[in-house]
Symmetry: C2
Subunit: 192 residues, 2 copies
Amino acid sequence: MKLLEQRILEDGKVYPGEVLKVSGFLNHLIDEQLLDEIGREISVRFCGEHVTKIMTIEASGIAIACATARYLKAPVLFAKKSKTSNVSDNCYSASVKSYTHGNVANVIVEKEFLTSADKVLIVDDFLAHGEAVNGLIEIVRQAGAELAGCAIAIEKGFQDGGAKLRAKGVRVESLAIIDSMTDDSLTFREQN
Amino acid sequence: MKLLEQRILEDGKVYPGEVLKVSGFLNHLIDEQLLDEIGREISVRFCGEHVTKIMTIEASGIAIACATARYLKAPVLFAKKSKTSNVSDNCYSASVKSYTHGNVANVIVEKEFLTSADKVLIVDDFLAHGEAVNGLIEIVRQAGAELAGCAIAIEKGFQDGGAKLRAKGVRVESLAIIDSMTDDSLTFREQN
């Protein structure tokens, strides 16, 4: 998606440890026009799949999931990182390691909201090692639901999350795939 | 907003401790059509205010903030509950007590994304004791930005957060205000 690649080049910032900061338009401050275009583009790629739930993990995937939901006309289901007083005990759960948070979170989804009748599109802002997506796939598996695939805004193609998922037969659509990243330059993978 | 009140009556669940669970359509599973209507309604109420940033706190306010942003054509800025590796040290911060999480979180916003040139609309799913909104107002104050007001999906009118904010002169628009809540019945405040 050229619009997203262009924005990453203009406003993204690279930090030591292969950190790409897109807080200025995607996951802290969110450009509402770019967000809408991301949702539209994901919906174009998955519109034939009859998706019934769009899943993500709080917090930064929620915006993209909602933008996609509007076009695919399916509800968003976001996995929670902590059990609050308004969450039932009857949950699916999976462990997810976060490199940016530096911890392991137990993410949960209430069982009543995901069943074997669902076809799920997983959505997130980043795909790097694939920890978050694999946690969500585990929850889809526990529910006996069908996985339509994964839609990612930015994939770090130089890390192995995307390659491993595709090797397992999971359809992964990333709107921008970064193949290499240094302080001075970003290289995007050519996509059709 | 009759559509939201009706949905609360149909699908909301009341639990001990004055907990209203709306996880089936607003803050775990999210009905994308209802969400869009909530965003539209908030935008109608604040469309004359020339809002430049729509602020919320992760996680459950993000969906409503994004739905509103689409109509008001302003970016979303969500305060973060933990400092991740891609957040700078140069932040505004405020302490926010959460009744549903049972803890106090230090919420942060990077200074570069909020300035004295901004006019801010604060958005959240719930208003009860007002802890989250007051934390966001404190951050708006630190930035020297102007506050346009607060837009809330569901206000617990029997708790004091909304009354205290209005007494301080803050414009608070709640799409549904619950004046009393028992296991058997909900009473909504009449609004024009």
